[in-house]
Symmetry: C2
Subunit: 212 residues, 2 copies
Amino acid sequence: MLVDVKERGGAEAAGPATGRPTTLGRPRAEDRTPAILEAAKALLEEVGYDRLRIQDVADRAGAGLATLYRRWPTKQALVADALRFHQEALLPPLLDDPRADLTALLCAMTSKLCGAGGEVLPGLVAALRSEPELAAVIRDEVMAPLRARMRADVASIVGPDNPQLDLLADLGPAVLMYRAVLVGEDVDVDAVVGSVLGLIDALTPADGARPR
Amino acid sequence: MLVDVKERGGAEAAGPATGRPTTLGRPRAEDRTPAILEAAKALLEEVGYDRLRIQDVADRAGAGLATLYRRWPTKQALVADALRFHQEALLPPLLDDPRADLTALLCAMTSKLCGAGGEVLPGLVAALRSEPELAAVIRDEVMAPLRARMRADVASIVGPDNPQLDLLADLGPAVLMYRAVLVGEDVDVDAVVGSVLGLIDALTPADGARPR
Protein backbone atom coordinates (compact mmCIF):
# COMPACT_ATOMS: atom_id res chain seq x y z
CA MET A 1 0.00 0.00 0.00
CA LEU A 2 2.74 2.47 0.92
CA VAL A 3 5.14 3.75 -1.69
CA ASP A 4 8.66 4.78 -0.84
CA VAL A 5 8.17 8.19 0.64
CA LYS A 6 11.78 9.12 -0.01
CA GLU A 7 11.12 8.91 -3.75
CA ARG A 8 11.40 12.31 -5.30
CA GLY A 9 10.57 11.76 -8.97
CA GLY A 10 6.83 12.15 -9.56
CA ALA A 11 6.96 10.34 -12.90
CA GLU A 12 8.77 7.32 -11.50
CA ALA A 13 6.53 7.20 -8.44
CA ALA A 14 3.52 6.88 -10.73
CA GLY A 15 5.14 4.11 -12.77
CA PRO A 16 4.45 0.38 -12.67
CA ALA A 17 7.42 -0.28 -10.36
CA THR A 18 5.35 0.89 -7.39
CA GLY A 19 2.68 -1.68 -8.08
CA ARG A 20 -0.04 0.96 -7.96
CA PRO A 21 -2.59 1.72 -10.67
CA THR A 22 -1.14 4.18 -13.16
CA THR A 23 -2.57 6.77 -15.47
CA LEU A 24 -1.01 7.81 -18.73
CA GLY A 25 0.56 11.22 -19.12
CA ARG A 26 1.41 13.71 -16.39
CA PRO A 27 1.63 12.26 -12.86
CA ARG A 28 -1.20 13.43 -10.64
CA ALA A 29 -0.70 15.55 -7.53
CA GLU A 30 -1.95 12.70 -5.32
CA ASP A 31 1.27 10.82 -5.98
CA ARG A 32 3.05 13.27 -3.67
CA THR A 33 0.71 12.42 -0.83
CA PRO A 34 3.04 10.06 1.10
CA ALA A 35 5.96 12.48 0.83
CA ILE A 36 3.76 15.34 2.00
CA LEU A 37 2.33 13.37 4.93
CA GLU A 38 5.84 12.24 5.87
CA ALA A 39 7.03 15.86 5.84
CA ALA A 40 4.01 16.95 7.89
CA LYS A 41 4.73 14.24 10.47
CA ALA A 42 8.42 15.14 10.70
CA LEU A 43 7.65 18.85 11.16
CA LEU A 44 4.93 18.07 13.70
CA GLU A 45 7.59 16.27 15.75
CA GLU A 46 10.11 19.05 15.36
CA VAL A 47 8.01 22.16 15.94
CA GLY A 48 4.53 21.05 17.08
CA TYR A 49 1.12 21.69 15.61
CA ASP A 50 0.81 25.30 16.65
CA ARG A 51 4.10 26.31 14.99
CA LEU A 52 3.75 24.17 11.88
CA ARG A 53 3.51 26.12 8.60
CA ILE A 54 2.07 24.64 5.43
CA GLN A 55 4.80 26.36 3.42
CA ASP A 56 7.44 24.46 5.43
CA VAL A 57 5.68 21.16 4.73
CA ALA A 58 5.59 21.97 1.01
CA ASP A 59 9.28 22.92 1.03
CA ARG A 60 10.33 19.75 2.81
CA ALA A 61 8.22 17.51 0.56
CA GLY A 62 9.49 19.26 -2.55
CA ALA A 63 5.88 20.03 -3.49
CA GLY A 64 4.15 23.21 -4.51
CA LEU A 65 2.05 25.19 -2.06
CA ALA A 66 -0.86 25.04 -4.53
CA THR A 67 -0.68 21.23 -4.57
CA LEU A 68 -1.06 21.16 -0.80
CA TYR A 69 -3.88 23.67 -0.65
CA ARG A 70 -5.78 21.87 -3.43
CA ARG A 71 -5.89 18.71 -1.36
CA TRP A 72 -5.87 20.14 2.18
CA PRO A 73 -7.54 23.54 2.38
CA THR A 74 -6.55 23.96 6.04
CA LYS A 75 -3.69 23.06 8.35
CA GLN A 76 -6.10 20.99 10.47
CA ALA A 77 -7.05 18.86 7.47
CA LEU A 78 -3.40 18.23 6.56
CA VAL A 79 -2.40 17.34 10.13
CA ALA A 80 -5.48 15.16 10.58
CA ASP A 81 -4.48 13.15 7.50
CA ALA A 82 -0.86 12.97 8.69
CA LEU A 83 -2.04 11.62 12.06
CA ARG A 84 -4.20 8.97 10.38
CA PHE A 85 -1.37 8.02 8.01
CA HIS A 86 1.17 7.72 10.83
CA GLN A 87 -1.10 6.30 13.48
CA GLU A 88 1.19 3.31 13.92
CA ALA A 89 4.03 5.66 14.90
CA LEU A 90 2.00 6.73 17.93
CA LEU A 91 0.96 3.18 18.80
CA PRO A 92 3.84 0.65 18.80
CA PRO A 93 3.15 -2.95 17.70
CA LEU A 94 1.06 -4.99 20.13
CA LEU A 95 3.13 -7.25 22.42
CA ASP A 96 1.95 -10.55 23.88
CA ASP A 97 2.89 -9.79 27.46
CA PRO A 98 0.53 -7.18 28.95
CA ARG A 99 3.21 -5.69 31.25
CA ALA A 100 5.63 -5.33 28.33
CA ASP A 101 2.86 -3.87 26.16
CA LEU A 102 1.93 -1.28 28.82
CA THR A 103 5.58 -0.36 29.17
CA ALA A 104 6.00 0.04 25.40
CA LEU A 105 2.90 2.24 25.15
CA LEU A 106 4.01 4.50 28.01
CA CYS A 107 7.53 4.80 26.59
CA ALA A 108 6.16 5.67 23.14
CA MET A 109 3.88 8.29 24.67
CA THR A 110 6.73 9.78 26.69
CA SER A 111 8.95 10.09 23.64
CA LYS A 112 6.15 12.02 21.90
CA LEU A 113 5.84 14.26 24.97
CA CYS A 114 9.42 14.83 26.03
CA GLY A 115 11.97 13.14 23.78
CA ALA A 116 13.14 13.74 20.25
CA GLY A 117 9.88 14.58 18.53
CA GLY A 118 8.66 15.83 21.91
CA GLU A 119 6.70 18.67 20.39
CA VAL A 120 3.90 16.42 19.11
CA LEU A 121 1.67 15.96 22.14
CA PRO A 122 2.10 19.36 23.84
CA GLY A 123 1.35 21.06 20.53
CA LEU A 124 -1.70 18.90 19.94
CA VAL A 125 -3.01 19.47 23.48
CA ALA A 126 -2.71 23.20 22.90
CA ALA A 127 -4.68 22.83 19.67
CA LEU A 128 -7.49 20.67 21.08
CA ARG A 129 -9.58 23.65 22.11
CA SER A 130 -9.20 25.82 19.06
CA GLU A 131 -9.42 23.09 16.42
CA PRO A 132 -12.49 20.89 16.99
CA GLU A 133 -12.01 18.88 13.77
CA LEU A 134 -8.42 18.06 14.66
CA ALA A 135 -9.51 17.27 18.24
CA ALA A 136 -12.00 14.71 16.91
CA VAL A 137 -9.25 13.00 14.89
CA ILE A 138 -6.87 12.93 17.87
CA ARG A 139 -9.59 11.54 20.11
CA ASP A 140 -10.89 8.93 17.67
CA GLU A 141 -7.65 7.83 16.01
CA VAL A 142 -5.08 8.24 18.79
CA MET A 143 -6.68 8.40 22.23
CA ALA A 144 -9.47 5.83 21.77
CA PRO A 145 -7.23 2.96 20.51
CA LEU A 146 -4.56 3.84 23.11
CA ARG A 147 -7.08 3.71 25.96
CA ALA A 148 -8.72 0.50 24.72
CA ARG A 149 -5.35 -1.26 24.47
CA MET A 150 -4.18 -0.12 27.90
CA ARG A 151 -7.50 -1.20 29.40
CA ALA A 152 -7.10 -4.67 27.83
CA ASP A 153 -3.51 -4.92 29.14
CA VAL A 154 -4.52 -3.92 32.67
CA ALA A 155 -7.59 -6.18 32.58
CA SER A 156 -5.43 -9.18 31.74
CA ILE A 157 -3.24 -8.41 34.80
CA VAL A 158 -5.79 -7.42 37.48
CA GLY A 159 -8.80 -9.24 36.03
CA PRO A 160 -11.70 -7.77 34.03
CA ASP A 161 -13.91 -7.37 37.12
CA ASN A 162 -11.47 -5.37 39.21
CA PRO A 163 -13.36 -2.30 40.48
CA GLN A 164 -10.29 -0.10 39.86
CA LEU A 165 -9.84 -1.22 36.24
CA ASP A 166 -10.88 2.05 34.57
CA LEU A 167 -8.74 4.13 36.88
CA LEU A 168 -5.69 1.86 36.53
CA ALA A 169 -6.02 1.85 32.73
CA ASP A 170 -5.89 5.67 32.56
CA LEU A 171 -3.30 6.05 35.30
CA GLY A 172 -0.10 5.87 33.25
CA PRO A 173 -1.00 8.20 30.35
CA ALA A 174 -2.80 10.59 32.71
CA VAL A 175 0.18 10.98 35.06
CA LEU A 176 2.65 11.32 32.17
CA MET A 177 0.53 14.00 30.51
CA TYR A 178 -0.14 15.81 33.79
CA ARG A 179 3.51 15.98 34.77
CA ALA A 180 4.88 16.81 31.33
CA VAL A 181 2.27 19.30 30.14
CA LEU A 182 0.69 20.81 33.25
CA VAL A 183 3.32 20.54 35.98
CA GLY A 184 6.01 21.12 33.39
CA GLU A 185 8.63 18.79 34.81
CA ASP A 186 11.08 16.47 33.10
CA VAL A 187 9.32 13.14 33.19
CA ASP A 188 11.30 10.10 34.35
CA VAL A 189 9.50 7.46 32.29
CA ASP A 190 11.23 4.51 33.99
CA ALA A 191 10.09 5.78 37.38
CA VAL A 192 6.52 6.30 36.17
CA VAL A 193 6.37 2.87 34.48
CA GLY A 194 7.84 1.18 37.56
CA SER A 195 5.42 2.97 39.83
CA VAL A 196 2.36 2.20 37.68
CA LEU A 197 3.28 -1.49 37.41
CA GLY A 198 4.04 -1.56 41.14
CA LEU A 199 0.61 -0.15 41.92
CA ILE A 200 -1.08 -2.65 39.60
CA ASP A 201 0.86 -5.51 41.20
CA ALA A 202 -0.10 -4.30 44.68
CA LEU A 203 -3.76 -4.58 43.68
CA THR A 204 -3.43 -7.96 41.98
CA PRO A 205 -4.44 -11.06 43.93
CA ALA A 206 -1.26 -13.01 44.63
CA ASP A 207 -3.04 -16.37 44.67
CA GLY A 208 -3.56 -16.39 40.93
CA ALA A 209 -7.34 -16.70 41.45
CA ARG A 210 -8.11 -13.82 39.12
CA PRO A 211 -10.01 -14.50 35.89
CA ARG A 212 -7.98 -14.70 32.71
CA MET B 1 -7.15 43.85 52.69
CA LEU B 2 -9.77 43.40 49.95
CA VAL B 3 -12.14 46.20 49.07
CA ASP B 4 -15.64 45.55 47.80
CA VAL B 5 -15.04 44.73 44.18
CA LYS B 6 -18.62 45.53 43.27
CA GLU B 7 -18.01 49.17 44.22
CA ARG B 8 -18.21 51.33 41.14
CA GLY B 9 -17.38 54.84 42.40
CA GLY B 10 -13.65 55.41 42.29
CA ALA B 11 -13.84 58.34 44.71
CA GLU B 12 -15.68 56.36 47.36
CA ALA B 13 -13.43 53.34 46.92
CA ALA B 14 -10.44 55.54 47.69
CA GLY B 15 -12.11 57.06 50.77
CA PRO B 16 -11.51 56.28 54.44
CA ALA B 17 -14.45 53.84 54.59
CA THR B 18 -12.33 51.16 52.93
CA GLY B 19 -9.69 51.40 55.62
CA ARG B 20 -6.94 51.83 53.03
CA PRO B 21 -4.44 54.69 52.85
CA THR B 22 -5.88 57.58 50.90
CA THR B 23 -4.42 60.36 48.79
CA LEU B 24 -5.97 63.75 48.36
CA GLY B 25 -7.48 64.80 45.05
CA ARG B 26 -8.30 62.60 42.10
CA PRO B 27 -8.50 58.84 42.85
CA ARG B 28 -5.61 56.91 41.33
CA ALA B 29 -6.00 54.28 38.67
CA GLU B 30 -4.69 51.60 41.06
CA ASP B 31 -7.92 51.85 43.04
CA ARG B 32 -9.69 50.03 40.23
CA THR B 33 -7.37 47.03 40.56
CA PRO B 34 -9.73 44.74 42.51
CA ALA B 35 -12.63 45.46 40.12
CA ILE B 36 -10.38 44.80 37.13
CA LEU B 37 -8.99 41.55 38.56
CA GLU B 38 -12.52 40.45 39.45
CA ALA B 39 -13.65 41.13 35.88
CA ALA B 40 -10.62 39.30 34.48
CA LYS B 41 -11.39 36.27 36.67
CA ALA B 42 -15.07 36.25 35.69
CA LEU B 43 -14.25 36.44 31.97
CA LEU B 44 -11.56 33.80 32.33
CA GLU B 45 -14.24 31.46 33.70
CA GLU B 46 -16.72 32.36 30.99
CA VAL B 47 -14.57 32.34 27.85
CA GLY B 48 -11.12 30.99 28.82
CA TYR B 49 -7.69 32.54 28.47
CA ASP B 50 -7.35 32.16 24.75
CA ARG B 51 -10.61 33.98 24.00
CA LEU B 52 -10.27 36.66 26.67
CA ARG B 53 -9.99 40.23 25.34
CA ILE B 54 -8.56 43.09 27.40
CA GLN B 55 -11.27 45.39 26.02
CA ASP B 56 -13.95 43.10 27.48
CA VAL B 57 -12.22 43.17 30.89
CA ALA B 58 -12.11 46.98 30.76
CA ASP B 59 -15.79 47.17 29.78
CA ARG B 60 -16.90 44.86 32.56
CA ALA B 61 -14.80 46.63 35.19
CA GLY B 62 -16.04 50.02 33.99
CA ALA B 63 -12.42 51.06 33.46
CA GLY B 64 -10.64 52.64 30.53
CA LEU B 65 -8.52 50.56 28.20
CA ALA B 66 -5.61 52.95 28.82
CA THR B 67 -5.86 52.32 32.57
CA LEU B 68 -5.49 48.60 31.99
CA TYR B 69 -2.61 48.86 29.53
CA ARG B 70 -0.74 51.27 31.83
CA ARG B 71 -0.69 48.66 34.56
CA TRP B 72 -0.69 45.43 32.51
CA PRO B 73 1.04 45.84 29.17
CA THR B 74 0.04 42.31 28.06
CA LYS B 75 -2.84 39.90 28.49
CA GLN B 76 -0.48 37.42 30.18
CA ALA B 77 0.46 39.99 32.82
CA LEU B 78 -3.20 40.79 33.55
CA VAL B 79 -4.23 37.14 33.77
CA ALA B 80 -1.18 36.27 35.89
CA ASP B 81 -2.19 38.95 38.42
CA ALA B 82 -5.82 37.78 38.33
CA LEU B 83 -4.68 34.21 39.06
CA ARG B 84 -2.53 35.37 42.01
CA PHE B 85 -5.36 37.55 43.32
CA HIS B 86 -7.94 34.75 43.10
CA GLN B 87 -5.68 31.88 44.04
CA GLU B 88 -8.02 30.93 46.89
CA ALA B 89 -10.84 30.41 44.36
CA LEU B 90 -8.80 27.61 42.79
CA LEU B 91 -7.79 26.12 46.15
CA PRO B 92 -10.70 25.71 48.60
CA PRO B 93 -10.04 26.16 52.35
CA LEU B 94 -7.98 23.40 53.98
CA LEU B 95 -10.10 20.76 55.74
CA ASP B 96 -8.96 18.74 58.75
CA ASP B 97 -9.93 15.34 57.37
CA PRO B 98 -7.54 14.32 54.56
CA ARG B 99 -10.22 12.35 52.66
CA ALA B 100 -12.61 15.31 52.79
CA ASP B 101 -9.82 17.67 51.77
CA LEU B 102 -8.86 15.50 48.77
CA THR B 103 -12.52 15.35 47.75
CA ALA B 104 -12.90 19.15 48.03
CA LEU B 105 -9.77 19.74 45.93
CA LEU B 106 -10.88 17.33 43.19
CA CYS B 107 -14.39 18.82 43.12
CA ALA B 108 -12.98 22.36 42.86
CA MET B 109 -10.69 21.28 40.04
CA THR B 110 -13.54 19.59 38.19
CA SER B 111 -15.72 22.67 38.38
CA LYS B 112 -12.89 24.69 36.81
CA LEU B 113 -12.58 22.05 34.10
CA CYS B 114 -16.16 21.15 33.32
CA GLY B 115 -18.72 23.08 35.34
CA ALA B 116 -19.86 26.68 35.34
CA GLY B 117 -16.59 28.50 34.85
CA GLY B 118 -15.36 25.38 33.07
CA GLU B 119 -13.35 27.34 30.54
CA VAL B 120 -10.58 28.18 33.02
CA LEU B 121 -8.38 25.10 32.97
CA PRO B 122 -8.77 24.03 29.32
CA GLY B 123 -7.99 27.59 28.25
CA LEU B 124 -4.95 27.76 30.49
CA VAL B 125 -3.67 24.36 29.32
CA ALA B 126 -3.95 25.58 25.75
CA ALA B 127 -1.94 28.69 26.68
CA LEU B 128 0.84 26.90 28.59
CA ARG B 129 2.96 26.40 25.50
CA SER B 130 2.64 29.78 23.89
CA GLU B 131 2.83 31.90 27.06
CA PRO B 132 5.86 30.90 29.16
CA GLU B 133 5.39 33.70 31.70
CA LEU B 134 1.79 32.73 32.31
CA ALA B 135 2.84 29.07 32.47
CA ALA B 136 5.31 29.91 35.25
CA VAL B 137 2.55 31.62 37.26
CA ILE B 138 0.16 28.69 36.79
CA ARG B 139 2.85 26.22 37.79
CA ASP B 140 4.14 28.15 40.80
CA GLU B 141 0.89 29.61 42.14
CA VAL B 142 -1.68 26.99 41.22
CA MET B 143 -0.09 23.62 40.48
CA ALA B 144 2.67 23.58 43.12
CA PRO B 145 0.40 24.34 46.13
CA LEU B 146 -2.27 21.96 44.79
CA ARG B 147 0.23 19.10 44.45
CA ALA B 148 1.83 19.76 47.84
CA ARG B 149 -1.54 19.72 49.58
CA MET B 150 -2.74 16.55 47.84
CA ARG B 151 0.55 14.86 48.69
CA ALA B 152 0.12 15.79 52.36
CA ASP B 153 -3.48 14.50 52.34
CA VAL B 154 -2.49 11.19 50.74
CA ALA B 155 0.57 10.85 53.03
CA SER B 156 -1.63 11.16 56.10
CA ILE B 157 -3.83 8.32 54.78
CA VAL B 158 -1.29 5.84 53.36
CA GLY B 159 1.70 6.92 55.45
CA PRO B 160 4.64 9.10 54.37
CA ASP B 161 6.83 6.11 53.45
CA ASN B 162 4.39 4.43 51.09
CA PRO B 163 6.31 3.70 47.85
CA GLN B 164 3.27 4.73 45.76
CA LEU B 165 2.84 8.10 47.51
CA ASP B 166 3.94 10.30 44.59
CA LEU B 167 1.79 8.42 42.12
CA LEU B 168 -1.27 8.40 44.39
CA ALA B 169 -0.91 12.13 45.06
CA ASP B 170 -0.99 12.97 41.34
CA LEU B 171 -3.60 10.36 40.45
CA GLY B 172 -6.79 12.39 40.96
CA PRO B 173 -5.85 15.63 39.19
CA ALA B 174 -4.04 13.72 36.43
CA VAL B 175 -7.03 11.50 35.61
CA LEU B 176 -9.48 14.43 35.76
CA MET B 177 -7.32 16.52 33.44
CA TYR B 178 -6.64 13.60 31.08
CA ARG B 179 -10.30 12.70 30.70
CA ALA B 180 -11.63 16.24 30.48
CA VAL B 181 -8.98 17.83 28.27
CA LEU B 182 -7.42 15.02 26.25
CA VAL B 183 -10.07 12.31 26.01
CA GLY B 184 -12.74 15.02 25.88
CA GLU B 185 -15.38 13.20 27.88
CA ASP B 186 -17.86 14.49 30.44
CA VAL B 187 -16.15 13.80 33.73
CA ASP B 188 -18.16 12.15 36.50
CA VAL B 189 -16.37 13.68 39.48
CA ASP B 190 -18.15 11.52 42.07
CA ALA B 191 -17.03 8.39 40.24
CA VAL B 192 -13.43 9.64 39.97
CA VAL B 193 -13.29 10.70 43.63
CA GLY B 194 -14.82 7.39 44.75
CA SER B 195 -12.40 5.44 42.60
CA VAL B 196 -9.32 7.40 43.76
CA LEU B 197 -10.28 7.02 47.45
CA GLY B 198 -11.08 3.34 46.86
CA LEU B 199 -7.63 2.80 45.35
CA ILE B 200 -5.94 4.62 48.24
CA ASP B 201 -7.92 2.56 50.75
CA ALA B 202 -6.99 -0.65 48.96
CA LEU B 203 -3.31 0.24 49.45
CA THR B 204 -3.66 1.32 53.07
CA PRO B 205 -2.74 -1.17 55.80
CA ALA B 206 -5.98 -2.13 57.54
CA ASP B 207 -4.27 -2.77 60.87
CA GLY B 208 -3.70 0.90 61.59
CA ALA B 209 0.04 0.24 61.82
CA ARG B 210 0.96 2.99 59.38
CA PRO B 211 2.94 6.00 60.62
CA ARG B 212 0.95 9.14 61.44
